[in-house]
Amino acid sequence: MTTQGPNPVSGSFPRSDEEIAARVKAMESILVEKDLIASDAIDYMSSVFENELGPHLGARATARAWVDPEFKLFLLADATAACREIDIGGIQGEEMIVLENTEDVHNVVVCTLCSCYPWPVLGLPPNWYKYPAYRARAVRDPRGVMAEFGFDPGDDIEVKVWDSSAELRYWVLPRRPEGTEGWSEEELAALVTRDSLLGLTDATAPK
């Protein structure tokens, strides 16, 4: 049995934001001295996740699938390759699998053991995805969880929950809302939310 024992540095939870900030500065200062990190690398990578990667990418892929049947087949057969075709892909999405919502099936994505999440199409996960309540409940009470997101898939629908326990990354292709015939990809993408790409809701209905 492996046990970590007491943390080699002192301090108890919950820590204040100031305490954590001080700890991180201390760690960074040592890593900089050892030439293992630099502030420009931190600025670069954090800026990519803050400004470039996010649910708008999953929304773009979804809208393409809604208007282009061939792309949709490609996406469902090999999501990684299909997304590469539209310049989406990379870390924490090296092997993506897309789950199609239909009249009969509604899919939900979770990681019960940690925080696995398809970064290339959704960016970094929100806290609620990583915190205990969602991880504990999504596999056991998916309908109750969806209700908390204001969504009811209907009693007749089979709910499939996907626990991302290995290095495959799952996300959901929501159903195209009715009343969107003739819409452009851009207009359609605006209906696709992060929560719908995780299967917690449907795509937004047109107003």
């Binding site: 540095v9 934001d17 991180v24």
Partner: protein, 224 residues
């Protein structure tokens, strides 16, 4: 290990607090912690499975109450000290210094080759496939039971599927095996399957009209 991280199906956590306007980073320090992950991994401080195992060893009360990136910090400190990147006393001394001088910022530093490496990493990620000269033991449609019993090290075999019987949905190929890779016993290579479980098998009547799919490595599975 059978730790608090293994949360699937646990009761008592209450509602999911999901504000619509959550920022990507809640504090500036979270940006640094995010990038310390690849930085320390490239420095040999840990591999992905060790990093996860480090987080699992956070005492349960702390695990539940800490902010998410504090888990990362704990695992980084754990391995950083163990592997000689951080000196525990020095880290403590500097932490106290920055706590006493909260306005003191680190001077800007530059490492252009690391920026380039990160560009490549973000664009391409990592490859966890490994060759395997043995045939896969199971095929789509086979009934399998998940190995029951405790975990003594790291595993991705959650408690809620142990001893439960399901059906192989997909064979994905052979990958790094977390149970050895996290424990200094080598990357290994084991087939990964998506296994389908009926909600009733996992949760009784409560699970009616739901199905759970989970990815499991071959050594976790027995013929049913």
């Amino acid at each position: 290990m059978d730790g608090i991280h293994d949360l699937g199906g646990r009761h008592g956590f209450g509602p999911i607090l999901h504000p619509d306007d959550e920022p990507v980073f809640h504090s500036e320090w979270e940006k640094t912690v995010l990038v310390m992950f690849p930085a320390m991994a490239m420095a040999g401080a840990f591999n992905l499975d060790e990093f996860r195992h480090g987080m699992e060893q956070i005492p349960p009360h702390d695990y539940i109450t800490a902010r998410y990136y504090e888990h990362w910090i704990d695992s980084m400190v754990h391995y950083g000290v163990e592997r000689g990147i951080f000196d525990a006393e020095e880290l403590e001394r500097r932490t106290q210094y920055y706590l006493d001088n909260p306005d003191k910022e680190l001077p800007p530093s530059s490492k252009p080759e690391m920026v380039e490496t990160l560009k490549g990493l973000i664009a391409s990620g990592d490859d966890y496939h490994r060759p395997n000269d043995q045939p896969a033991k199971f095929a789509t449609g086979d009934r399998v039971t998940v190995v029951d019993g405790p975990s003594l090290g790291h595993t991705r075999r959650p408690a809620y599927v142990r001893g439960r019987t399901g059906t192989i949905a997909t064979l994905h190929g052979s990958y790094v095996y977390p149970d050895t890779n996290a424990m200094g016993e080598g990357e290994g290579s084991e087939y990964v399957y998506t296994v389908e479980f009926s909600g009733e098998e996992l949760w009784g009547e409560e699970g009616a009209n739901s199905t759970v799919y989970i990815d499991l490595w071959e050594p976790y599975l027995l013929p049913a």
